[in-house]
């Protein structure tokens, strides 16, 4: 095999090792906070939730919530509830930043007491 070919192959392996090392770093980092993205926590949570939103004074229907955030307006979420919070927050800070919005997320994690998270702007 030619030398450049061998070099590319070795570089590919090094990239692969870097991908694995990055995951180890992500696992450690995610355990410092509440999210567990890329931390190999598959289906480790049961979050029963309900998401409602009012945009420019109009309460969104179930289809409206689904259309805006691409998330079911209620149901079971198998990741930390912080993922839902992050989705809504990112939407409202970017695509929806010009709207007057009130969002309420009520949820129960693993059957514990109900919690409520609210967001509003505009």
């Amino acid at each position: 095999m030619s030398s450049p070919g061998r070099l590319i192959r070795r570089a590919a392996v090094v990239i692969g090792i870097a991908v694995l090392a990055m995951q180890v770093g992500m696992v450690a980092y995610e355990h410092l906070g509440p999210t567990r993205y890329f931390a190999w926590a598959p289906n480790d949570y049961v979050v029963q939730y309900r998401l409602t939103a009012t945009v420019d004074g109009h309460r969104l229907s179930a289809a409206g919530v689904r259309g805006r955030y691409r998330v079911a307006p209620h149901g079971i979420w198998y990741f930390p509830a912080q993922h839902l919070v992050d989705d809504v927050q990112q939407y409202e800070r970017t695509y929806g930043s010009h709207d007057r919005v009130r969002v309420t997320l009520t949820y129960r994690l693993n059957g514990h007491a109900r919690q409520t998270w609210r967001w509003s702007h505009g």
């Binding site: 694995l20 480790d44 939407y91 059957g111």
Partner: protein
Amino acid sequence: MADVAAAAASWNPLRVTGTEMPPNLLLACKLIVVAFVVNGQVRRLPGHFLPFFSALDRVGSQPAYRHGLQAAFVIAAVALLLNRAPHLAASVAGAAILLGTISSRIYFENNTEYTGLILLLAGLAASGDRTRLVRYQVVLLYAAAALNKVLDADWRSGQFFENWAAVTSLHVTYHHVSSLFPHLVLAKLLAWSAICTEAALAVGFAIRRFYPYAIWLAVGYHTTLMVTAGRTFGMFYFSLLASYLAFARPWPDVRVHAWVPARLRPMRLLDTDRAFAWGDDGPRLAVETPDGMIAGFAALRRILRFAPPAFFAFWILAALPQPDVTHRLIGLVVLAVLAAIAIEWAREQRQARAPVQTV
């Protein structure tokens, strides 16, 4: 060497030998892409919507981005299936899935992330021990999964399991059995079983002599979950089982002698890679191994192990969209096969320990 391999590679999707990628790994990649297509996952690849990196929001329109990912995946999948540049094809297919994962928080799931990573790492492992990156990924997955559970108070106390069982379709059975024990005792027992199993798998997949047992335990564990929950957790079941091929017995370098009775002759069609030199019809199914002749179920297992069509049939059957009940039935069949393998292992152990009689 790569050019020679490429020239010898067959265009037959059912063949996995003759390329620069180890046959086990190529088979794993093919099974994953086939399951991804059959399971309807190509349609689910997203455009950029709530990406993890805001810069991705500025890369073309959402539909164009989505179609780009889908096209990249499909072209790479076809190349993989036809044995063309398998390392590059696997890398591209995996990268398309991973790009989708970081392009949309809504799309993010561990099962698609794992699927993308296995393909990417299989593709990147282009020199040296080519299965090692995938093997390390499997160990990392189980170690991190066990760690997350053991650090979570709700897992340790059984609180998670009690609530998870309540939302599965087996909740009535679970609560009936659970009511026979003090509060949370069954939940705690099952939660700790899962934690210990995942920790054992991390160790088992890290130590070569434990590979066969780790594969057996992992297939049993995930199949039990499938039977219990009635679902495959997206691509998890297919990608996990395929990735265990990186730990499996390597493809034979030379053709091995095998015999089938006349009535089972069509079985020879499964040998698409010509791993076996078929003898004249024998009285029973038999395969010659370095340790001697094996027959019956052991021979069947050995033949099917190197029969890509059998793998494809199972993966397609399991990945097709279907009701919970058929997933459960498929799972029960797999558990029955695992039980038969365990019985055979136990018999082999007994025979190995039996005193040798001299005449």
